[in-house]
Amino acid sequence: MNNPYRPIKTEVLDVITETSNIKTLRLKPVEPIEFRAGQFIELTVPGVGEAPFTPSSRSSVKDMMEVTVMKVGKVTEKIHELKKGDTVGLRGPLGKGYPLEDFRNKEILVVGGGCGLAPLRALMYELFENIGDFKKVIYRGGCKTPQDFLYKKEINEWKKEHKSVDMRLTVDKGDPTWKENVGVVTTIMDGISMDCKNGIGIVCGPPIAMKYATMKLLDMGFQDENIYLSMEKNMSCGIGKCGHCRIGIYYACKDGPVFKYSQIKNYHEIWD
């Protein structure tokens, strides 16, 4: 029987510095791990420990993946010290991703903040690759400052490549180089022209940003069951056994981390 706790040996192909405290690792596991956007993996630093991340790369690339990691704790500190050629471990894919098949022929609004832009990059690649399947795709991204903006250059390239996709960015605090909106992400959710009642709203970001973006979506007329949230909980085993990431009757690791707002809205503690 397969051992769900065993990490697969993985080579660090490259380390890309994104911002002062965020790096992206390009990883090649010896056994390919196929994922879909929104699913997560557990990344092991040998002798240090394991932590959950959602791949930020193209799911259509099967033999390698990228994870984008903010330095916040013990494991991520060690991850930031990794170099090209180092060996790590991967387990996954774990959990459920975005159900793209349910988004067909719909209008989709993607809202991301901060580190939440990482899982959403994988989602945007999937949307771009199947852009004809969707009626409309709108992207709204926010970060604290222009220096913190993940994939800034790449998003600007998306704007040029995918003219049909309405994309706007914002920062909480601007600087002279910043030519776009200044304000929290909900400030660029005003005036969006779309069929909110039947539209799909996707939110990923720090808890506080998710909370306010969700409230905004509800104000705009989105239905509870059409809002998809990516929940950050203490996912450890990844298969609903260890008990750390429970939300009500769910485990974020096996039933999520992507949940419909309607599934979890009645539970306390979801934004904490």
């Binding site: 051992n3 706790y5 013990k74 203490n234 260890c242 750390h244 990431c245 009500g248 904490d272």
Partner: protein, 341 residues
């Protein structure tokens, strides 16, 4: 239904040793602990009440290596399967909860399966109750009715043995020479004994006003914002003893040994009462306060499990009552939740 004399019972255990690692409850002072059976001894107590430690520990080990580096090895079969003798009804219900988590629910856990399969469960009737026993309030009788291979009821000079599975039947058939037919007198002794212990537990329930499980529906939702949690958690010292001794608690921590030469991933019992249990790396903690964690413990047992598995994850064994240094008493908490004050 069969009868086995005390002498033959030890012969039976001696035979089982060939196939199984046999564990029996042994009495030390006022407590019973599981010990590996070697030779007949007087302090082996098949009846009385549950052992000090929860029997879940036989299958969900307190500390277990679940991965070694990147090696693609699946867990090795134990050399010999376990025969656990004298398991009480409360621990059988504990197995049911553990089985739900590790065997039946979405994903399977190969380590638990390895430990659990091929085992022989020889349960036994309780012949007495201690003052913390309240099994009948949560739908568990102090004598096993199902979920065993063989069940033993103490009678004069020996035991009545009933089979509850094909494996149990085959085991008795294989040692048929040690068993006899049951005399009417023994049968009525068993019935009397069961009546007596039922009365003892009922008296406990009455004296402590323990609510019946029929009244537990909705107690968590109803009291989610109640001050009961803060009040009850006041004396908690966050030791996690309630989790450790609980037959239904299953949470664990995956821990990587900090030694690059020997990359072992351990699974260790964890406690949801400890502050960092649900904390994420960024620092956010959905249950930062102790009373929230106490509430979570009850929510898991009396909201989560009934919703996903249709049972309350409490066996009425009373171990958490005895183990708690702060004297937090699950019977009292349930009583307050039912009353809502």
């Amino acid at each position: 239904m069969h009868y086995i004399s005390n002498d033959n019972f030890f012969k039976f255990l001696d035979k089982l040793k060939n196939t199984f690692n046999v564990f029996v409850p042994v009495k030390k002072d006022k407590q019973r602990f599981y010990k590996k059976y070697d030779t007949p001894r007087e302090d082996i107590i098949i009846g009385e009440v549950r052992a000090f430690e929860p029997a879940k520990a036989f299958f969900s080990h307190a500390r277990e290596i679940v991965a070694e580096g990147f090696k693609n090895t699946s867990p090795q079969m134990n050399k010999k399967p376990l025969a656990i003798v004298g398991v009480k009804a409360c621990d059988l219900k504990g197995f049911k909860v553990q089985d739900h988590v590790f065997l039946n629910h979405d994903y399977k856990d190969p380590f638990y399966i390895r430990n659990r399969e091929n085992n022989l469960i020889i349960s036994a009737d309780c012949t007495s109750a201690i003052d913390t026993c309240f099994c009948l309030a949560v739908g568990v009788t102090p004598y096993p009715e199902k979920d065993f291979d063989i069940n033993l009821s103490s009678v004069e000079g020996g035991f009545i043995a009933e089979t509850g599975s094909e494996k149990g039947k085959a085991t008795i058939d294989a040692h048929a020479n040690l068993f006899e037919s049951v005399k009417t007198r023994a049968k009525s002794q068993k019935d009397e004994q069961r009546k007596k212990v039922t009365k003892d537990v009922e008296r406990n329930i009455k004296e402590n006003n323990v609510p019946r499980q029929e009244s537990l529906k909705g107690i968590i939702e109803k009291n989610f914002e109640s001050d009961i949690w803060k009040d009850e958690a006041r004396a908690c010292v966050e030791c996690g003893a309630c989790n450790t001794v609980c037959p239904t608690c299953h949470c664990f921590l995956l821990y990587d040994e900090k030694n690059k030469e020997n990359l072992a991933r351990l699974r260790i019992w964890d406690s949801c009462m400890i502050k960092d249990f649900a904390r994420v790396a960024g620092g956010a903690n959905p249950r930062a306060k102790l009373w929230m964690r106490l509430r979570n413990r009850f929510e898991k047992k009396f909201y989560y499990f009934p919703k996903v598995a249709d049972f309350y994850a409490c066996t009425g064994c009373g171990r958490c009552i005895t183990a708690c240094p702060a004297k937090i008493d699950i019977r009292k908490v349930l009583k307050r939740l039912v009353k809502g004050e």
